[in-house]
């Protein structure tokens, strides 16, 4: 099976941010994304919308360049004030060309 190496960026953030994050991800060049509902605890503890839906967990398959762009915008627009965690890993994607 031919696969393409790509970056998988996983972002966990407070749920009120979902719409904005998704818009920013698409602007940064992501061709798609997957969102699921999550809850959690971090160093920050307090969440704005405590009883408003917890966290979202967003996954985006992107090229290295877009991955950098995404991390950059997280650092600039979200990390200073919001409860956001993000990590990156290298994965092999089937039909990977459609994300480039």
């Amino acid at each position: 099976m031919k696969t393409v190496p790509l970056k998988l960026v996983t972002i966990v953030a407070e749920a009120v941010l979902e719409d904005r994050l998704v818009r920013d991800l698409e602007a940064a060049g992501a061709r798609g994304y997957t969102v699921s509902t999550a809850r959690g605890r971090g160093s920050r503890g307090v969440r704005a919308s405590d009883w408003e839906g917890g966290n979202v967990r967003i996954e985006v398959l992107v090229t290295d360049a877009v991955s950098d762009e995404v991390l950059h915008l997280l650092a600039e627009r979200y990390f200073p004030h919001y409860a956001v965690v993000a990590w990156v890993e290298r994965v092999e994607v089937v039909r990977g060309n459609k994300y480039v």
């Binding site: 407070e14 009120v16 941010l17 904005r20 509902t37 307090v46 969440r47 704005a48 919308s49 405590d50 009883w51 408003e52 839906g53 917890g54 627009r77 200073p80 004030h81 919001y82």
Partner: protein, 327 residues
Amino acid sequence: MDTVDLVRANLLSPMVLAFVLGVVARLVRSDLKLPEGIYAALSIYLLFAIGLKGGVSLSLTPAGEVWLPALAAVVFATIAPVWIYAVVRGVARMSVADAAALAAHYGSVSVVTFTAAIAFLDTLGVPYEGYMPALVALMEIPAIVVALMIARVQAPPAAEHTPVSWHTVLHEVLAGRGSVLLIGGLSIGLLSGAGGFAQVAPFFDAPFKGVLVFFLLEMGMVAAGRLGDLRRAGAFLVAFGILMPIAHGALGAALGWMIGLSPGGSTVLGVLAASASYIAAPVAVRIALPEANPGYYLTATLAITFPFNLAVGIPLYHAIAGLIHAW
């Protein structure tokens, strides 16, 4: 009934007791929790049902009777954030963002506190103007917008931070689900009238207070989860979370009397003035004023003001309204 009796009667209503049960459940670290979607579903139900009832009542009320209370409600909700902001900044020296956040929450209204007040009056058999739910819809938004404007003017965002645009903020407030459901329900009630409402009343009217019981159970659990923050919050926040509602409650009741509402209606206006928003304001503030500390505004509204209003405030404002009207 004197005030103490009212408080006692109120404290033993299923709604207030459900809130207490929620607090107890959290304190004994029970695994009880409403499933994720259910809380959201209940709040959609409450918001829409209130809008609907308000709309139906409006459709039955001559416009000449409504315009003055509507105007009074909007004016109050528009200027209240100014003095709240001034008090918080002046007395507690909180940051601009934190003061504006409190102004947004306390200038806006709480749908749940409102419904608890309605249930309270219904139980006592005290009549009130049918269009009161419409005032909820009118009083929800102005204070949030004004408070956010104050924050922008007082502390313009630093150049290196692209702030959230005004457009985004207004959109968040006006197209937020709270507004859409309240105003949408109101419009539907207005357009379909009493005949339309009769068709759906067995769903939106009869079970309403029962649904409220579950909602308050959950709010009790959430509020209890914030009790830990209370200690950190400090004396100012506790005092603010009790005194500000009392002042607003008296002011609202007096305003009601001035514009010719019934004692019941004045009570409701007092409760609206005294209540703090839990649905529209937290989301808007989180997005538009992320530097405001939720440890202040959520703790004050949820762990202090809401239980205070539920247990003591509602009968208190009712007693105050009674005094004013009897005077």
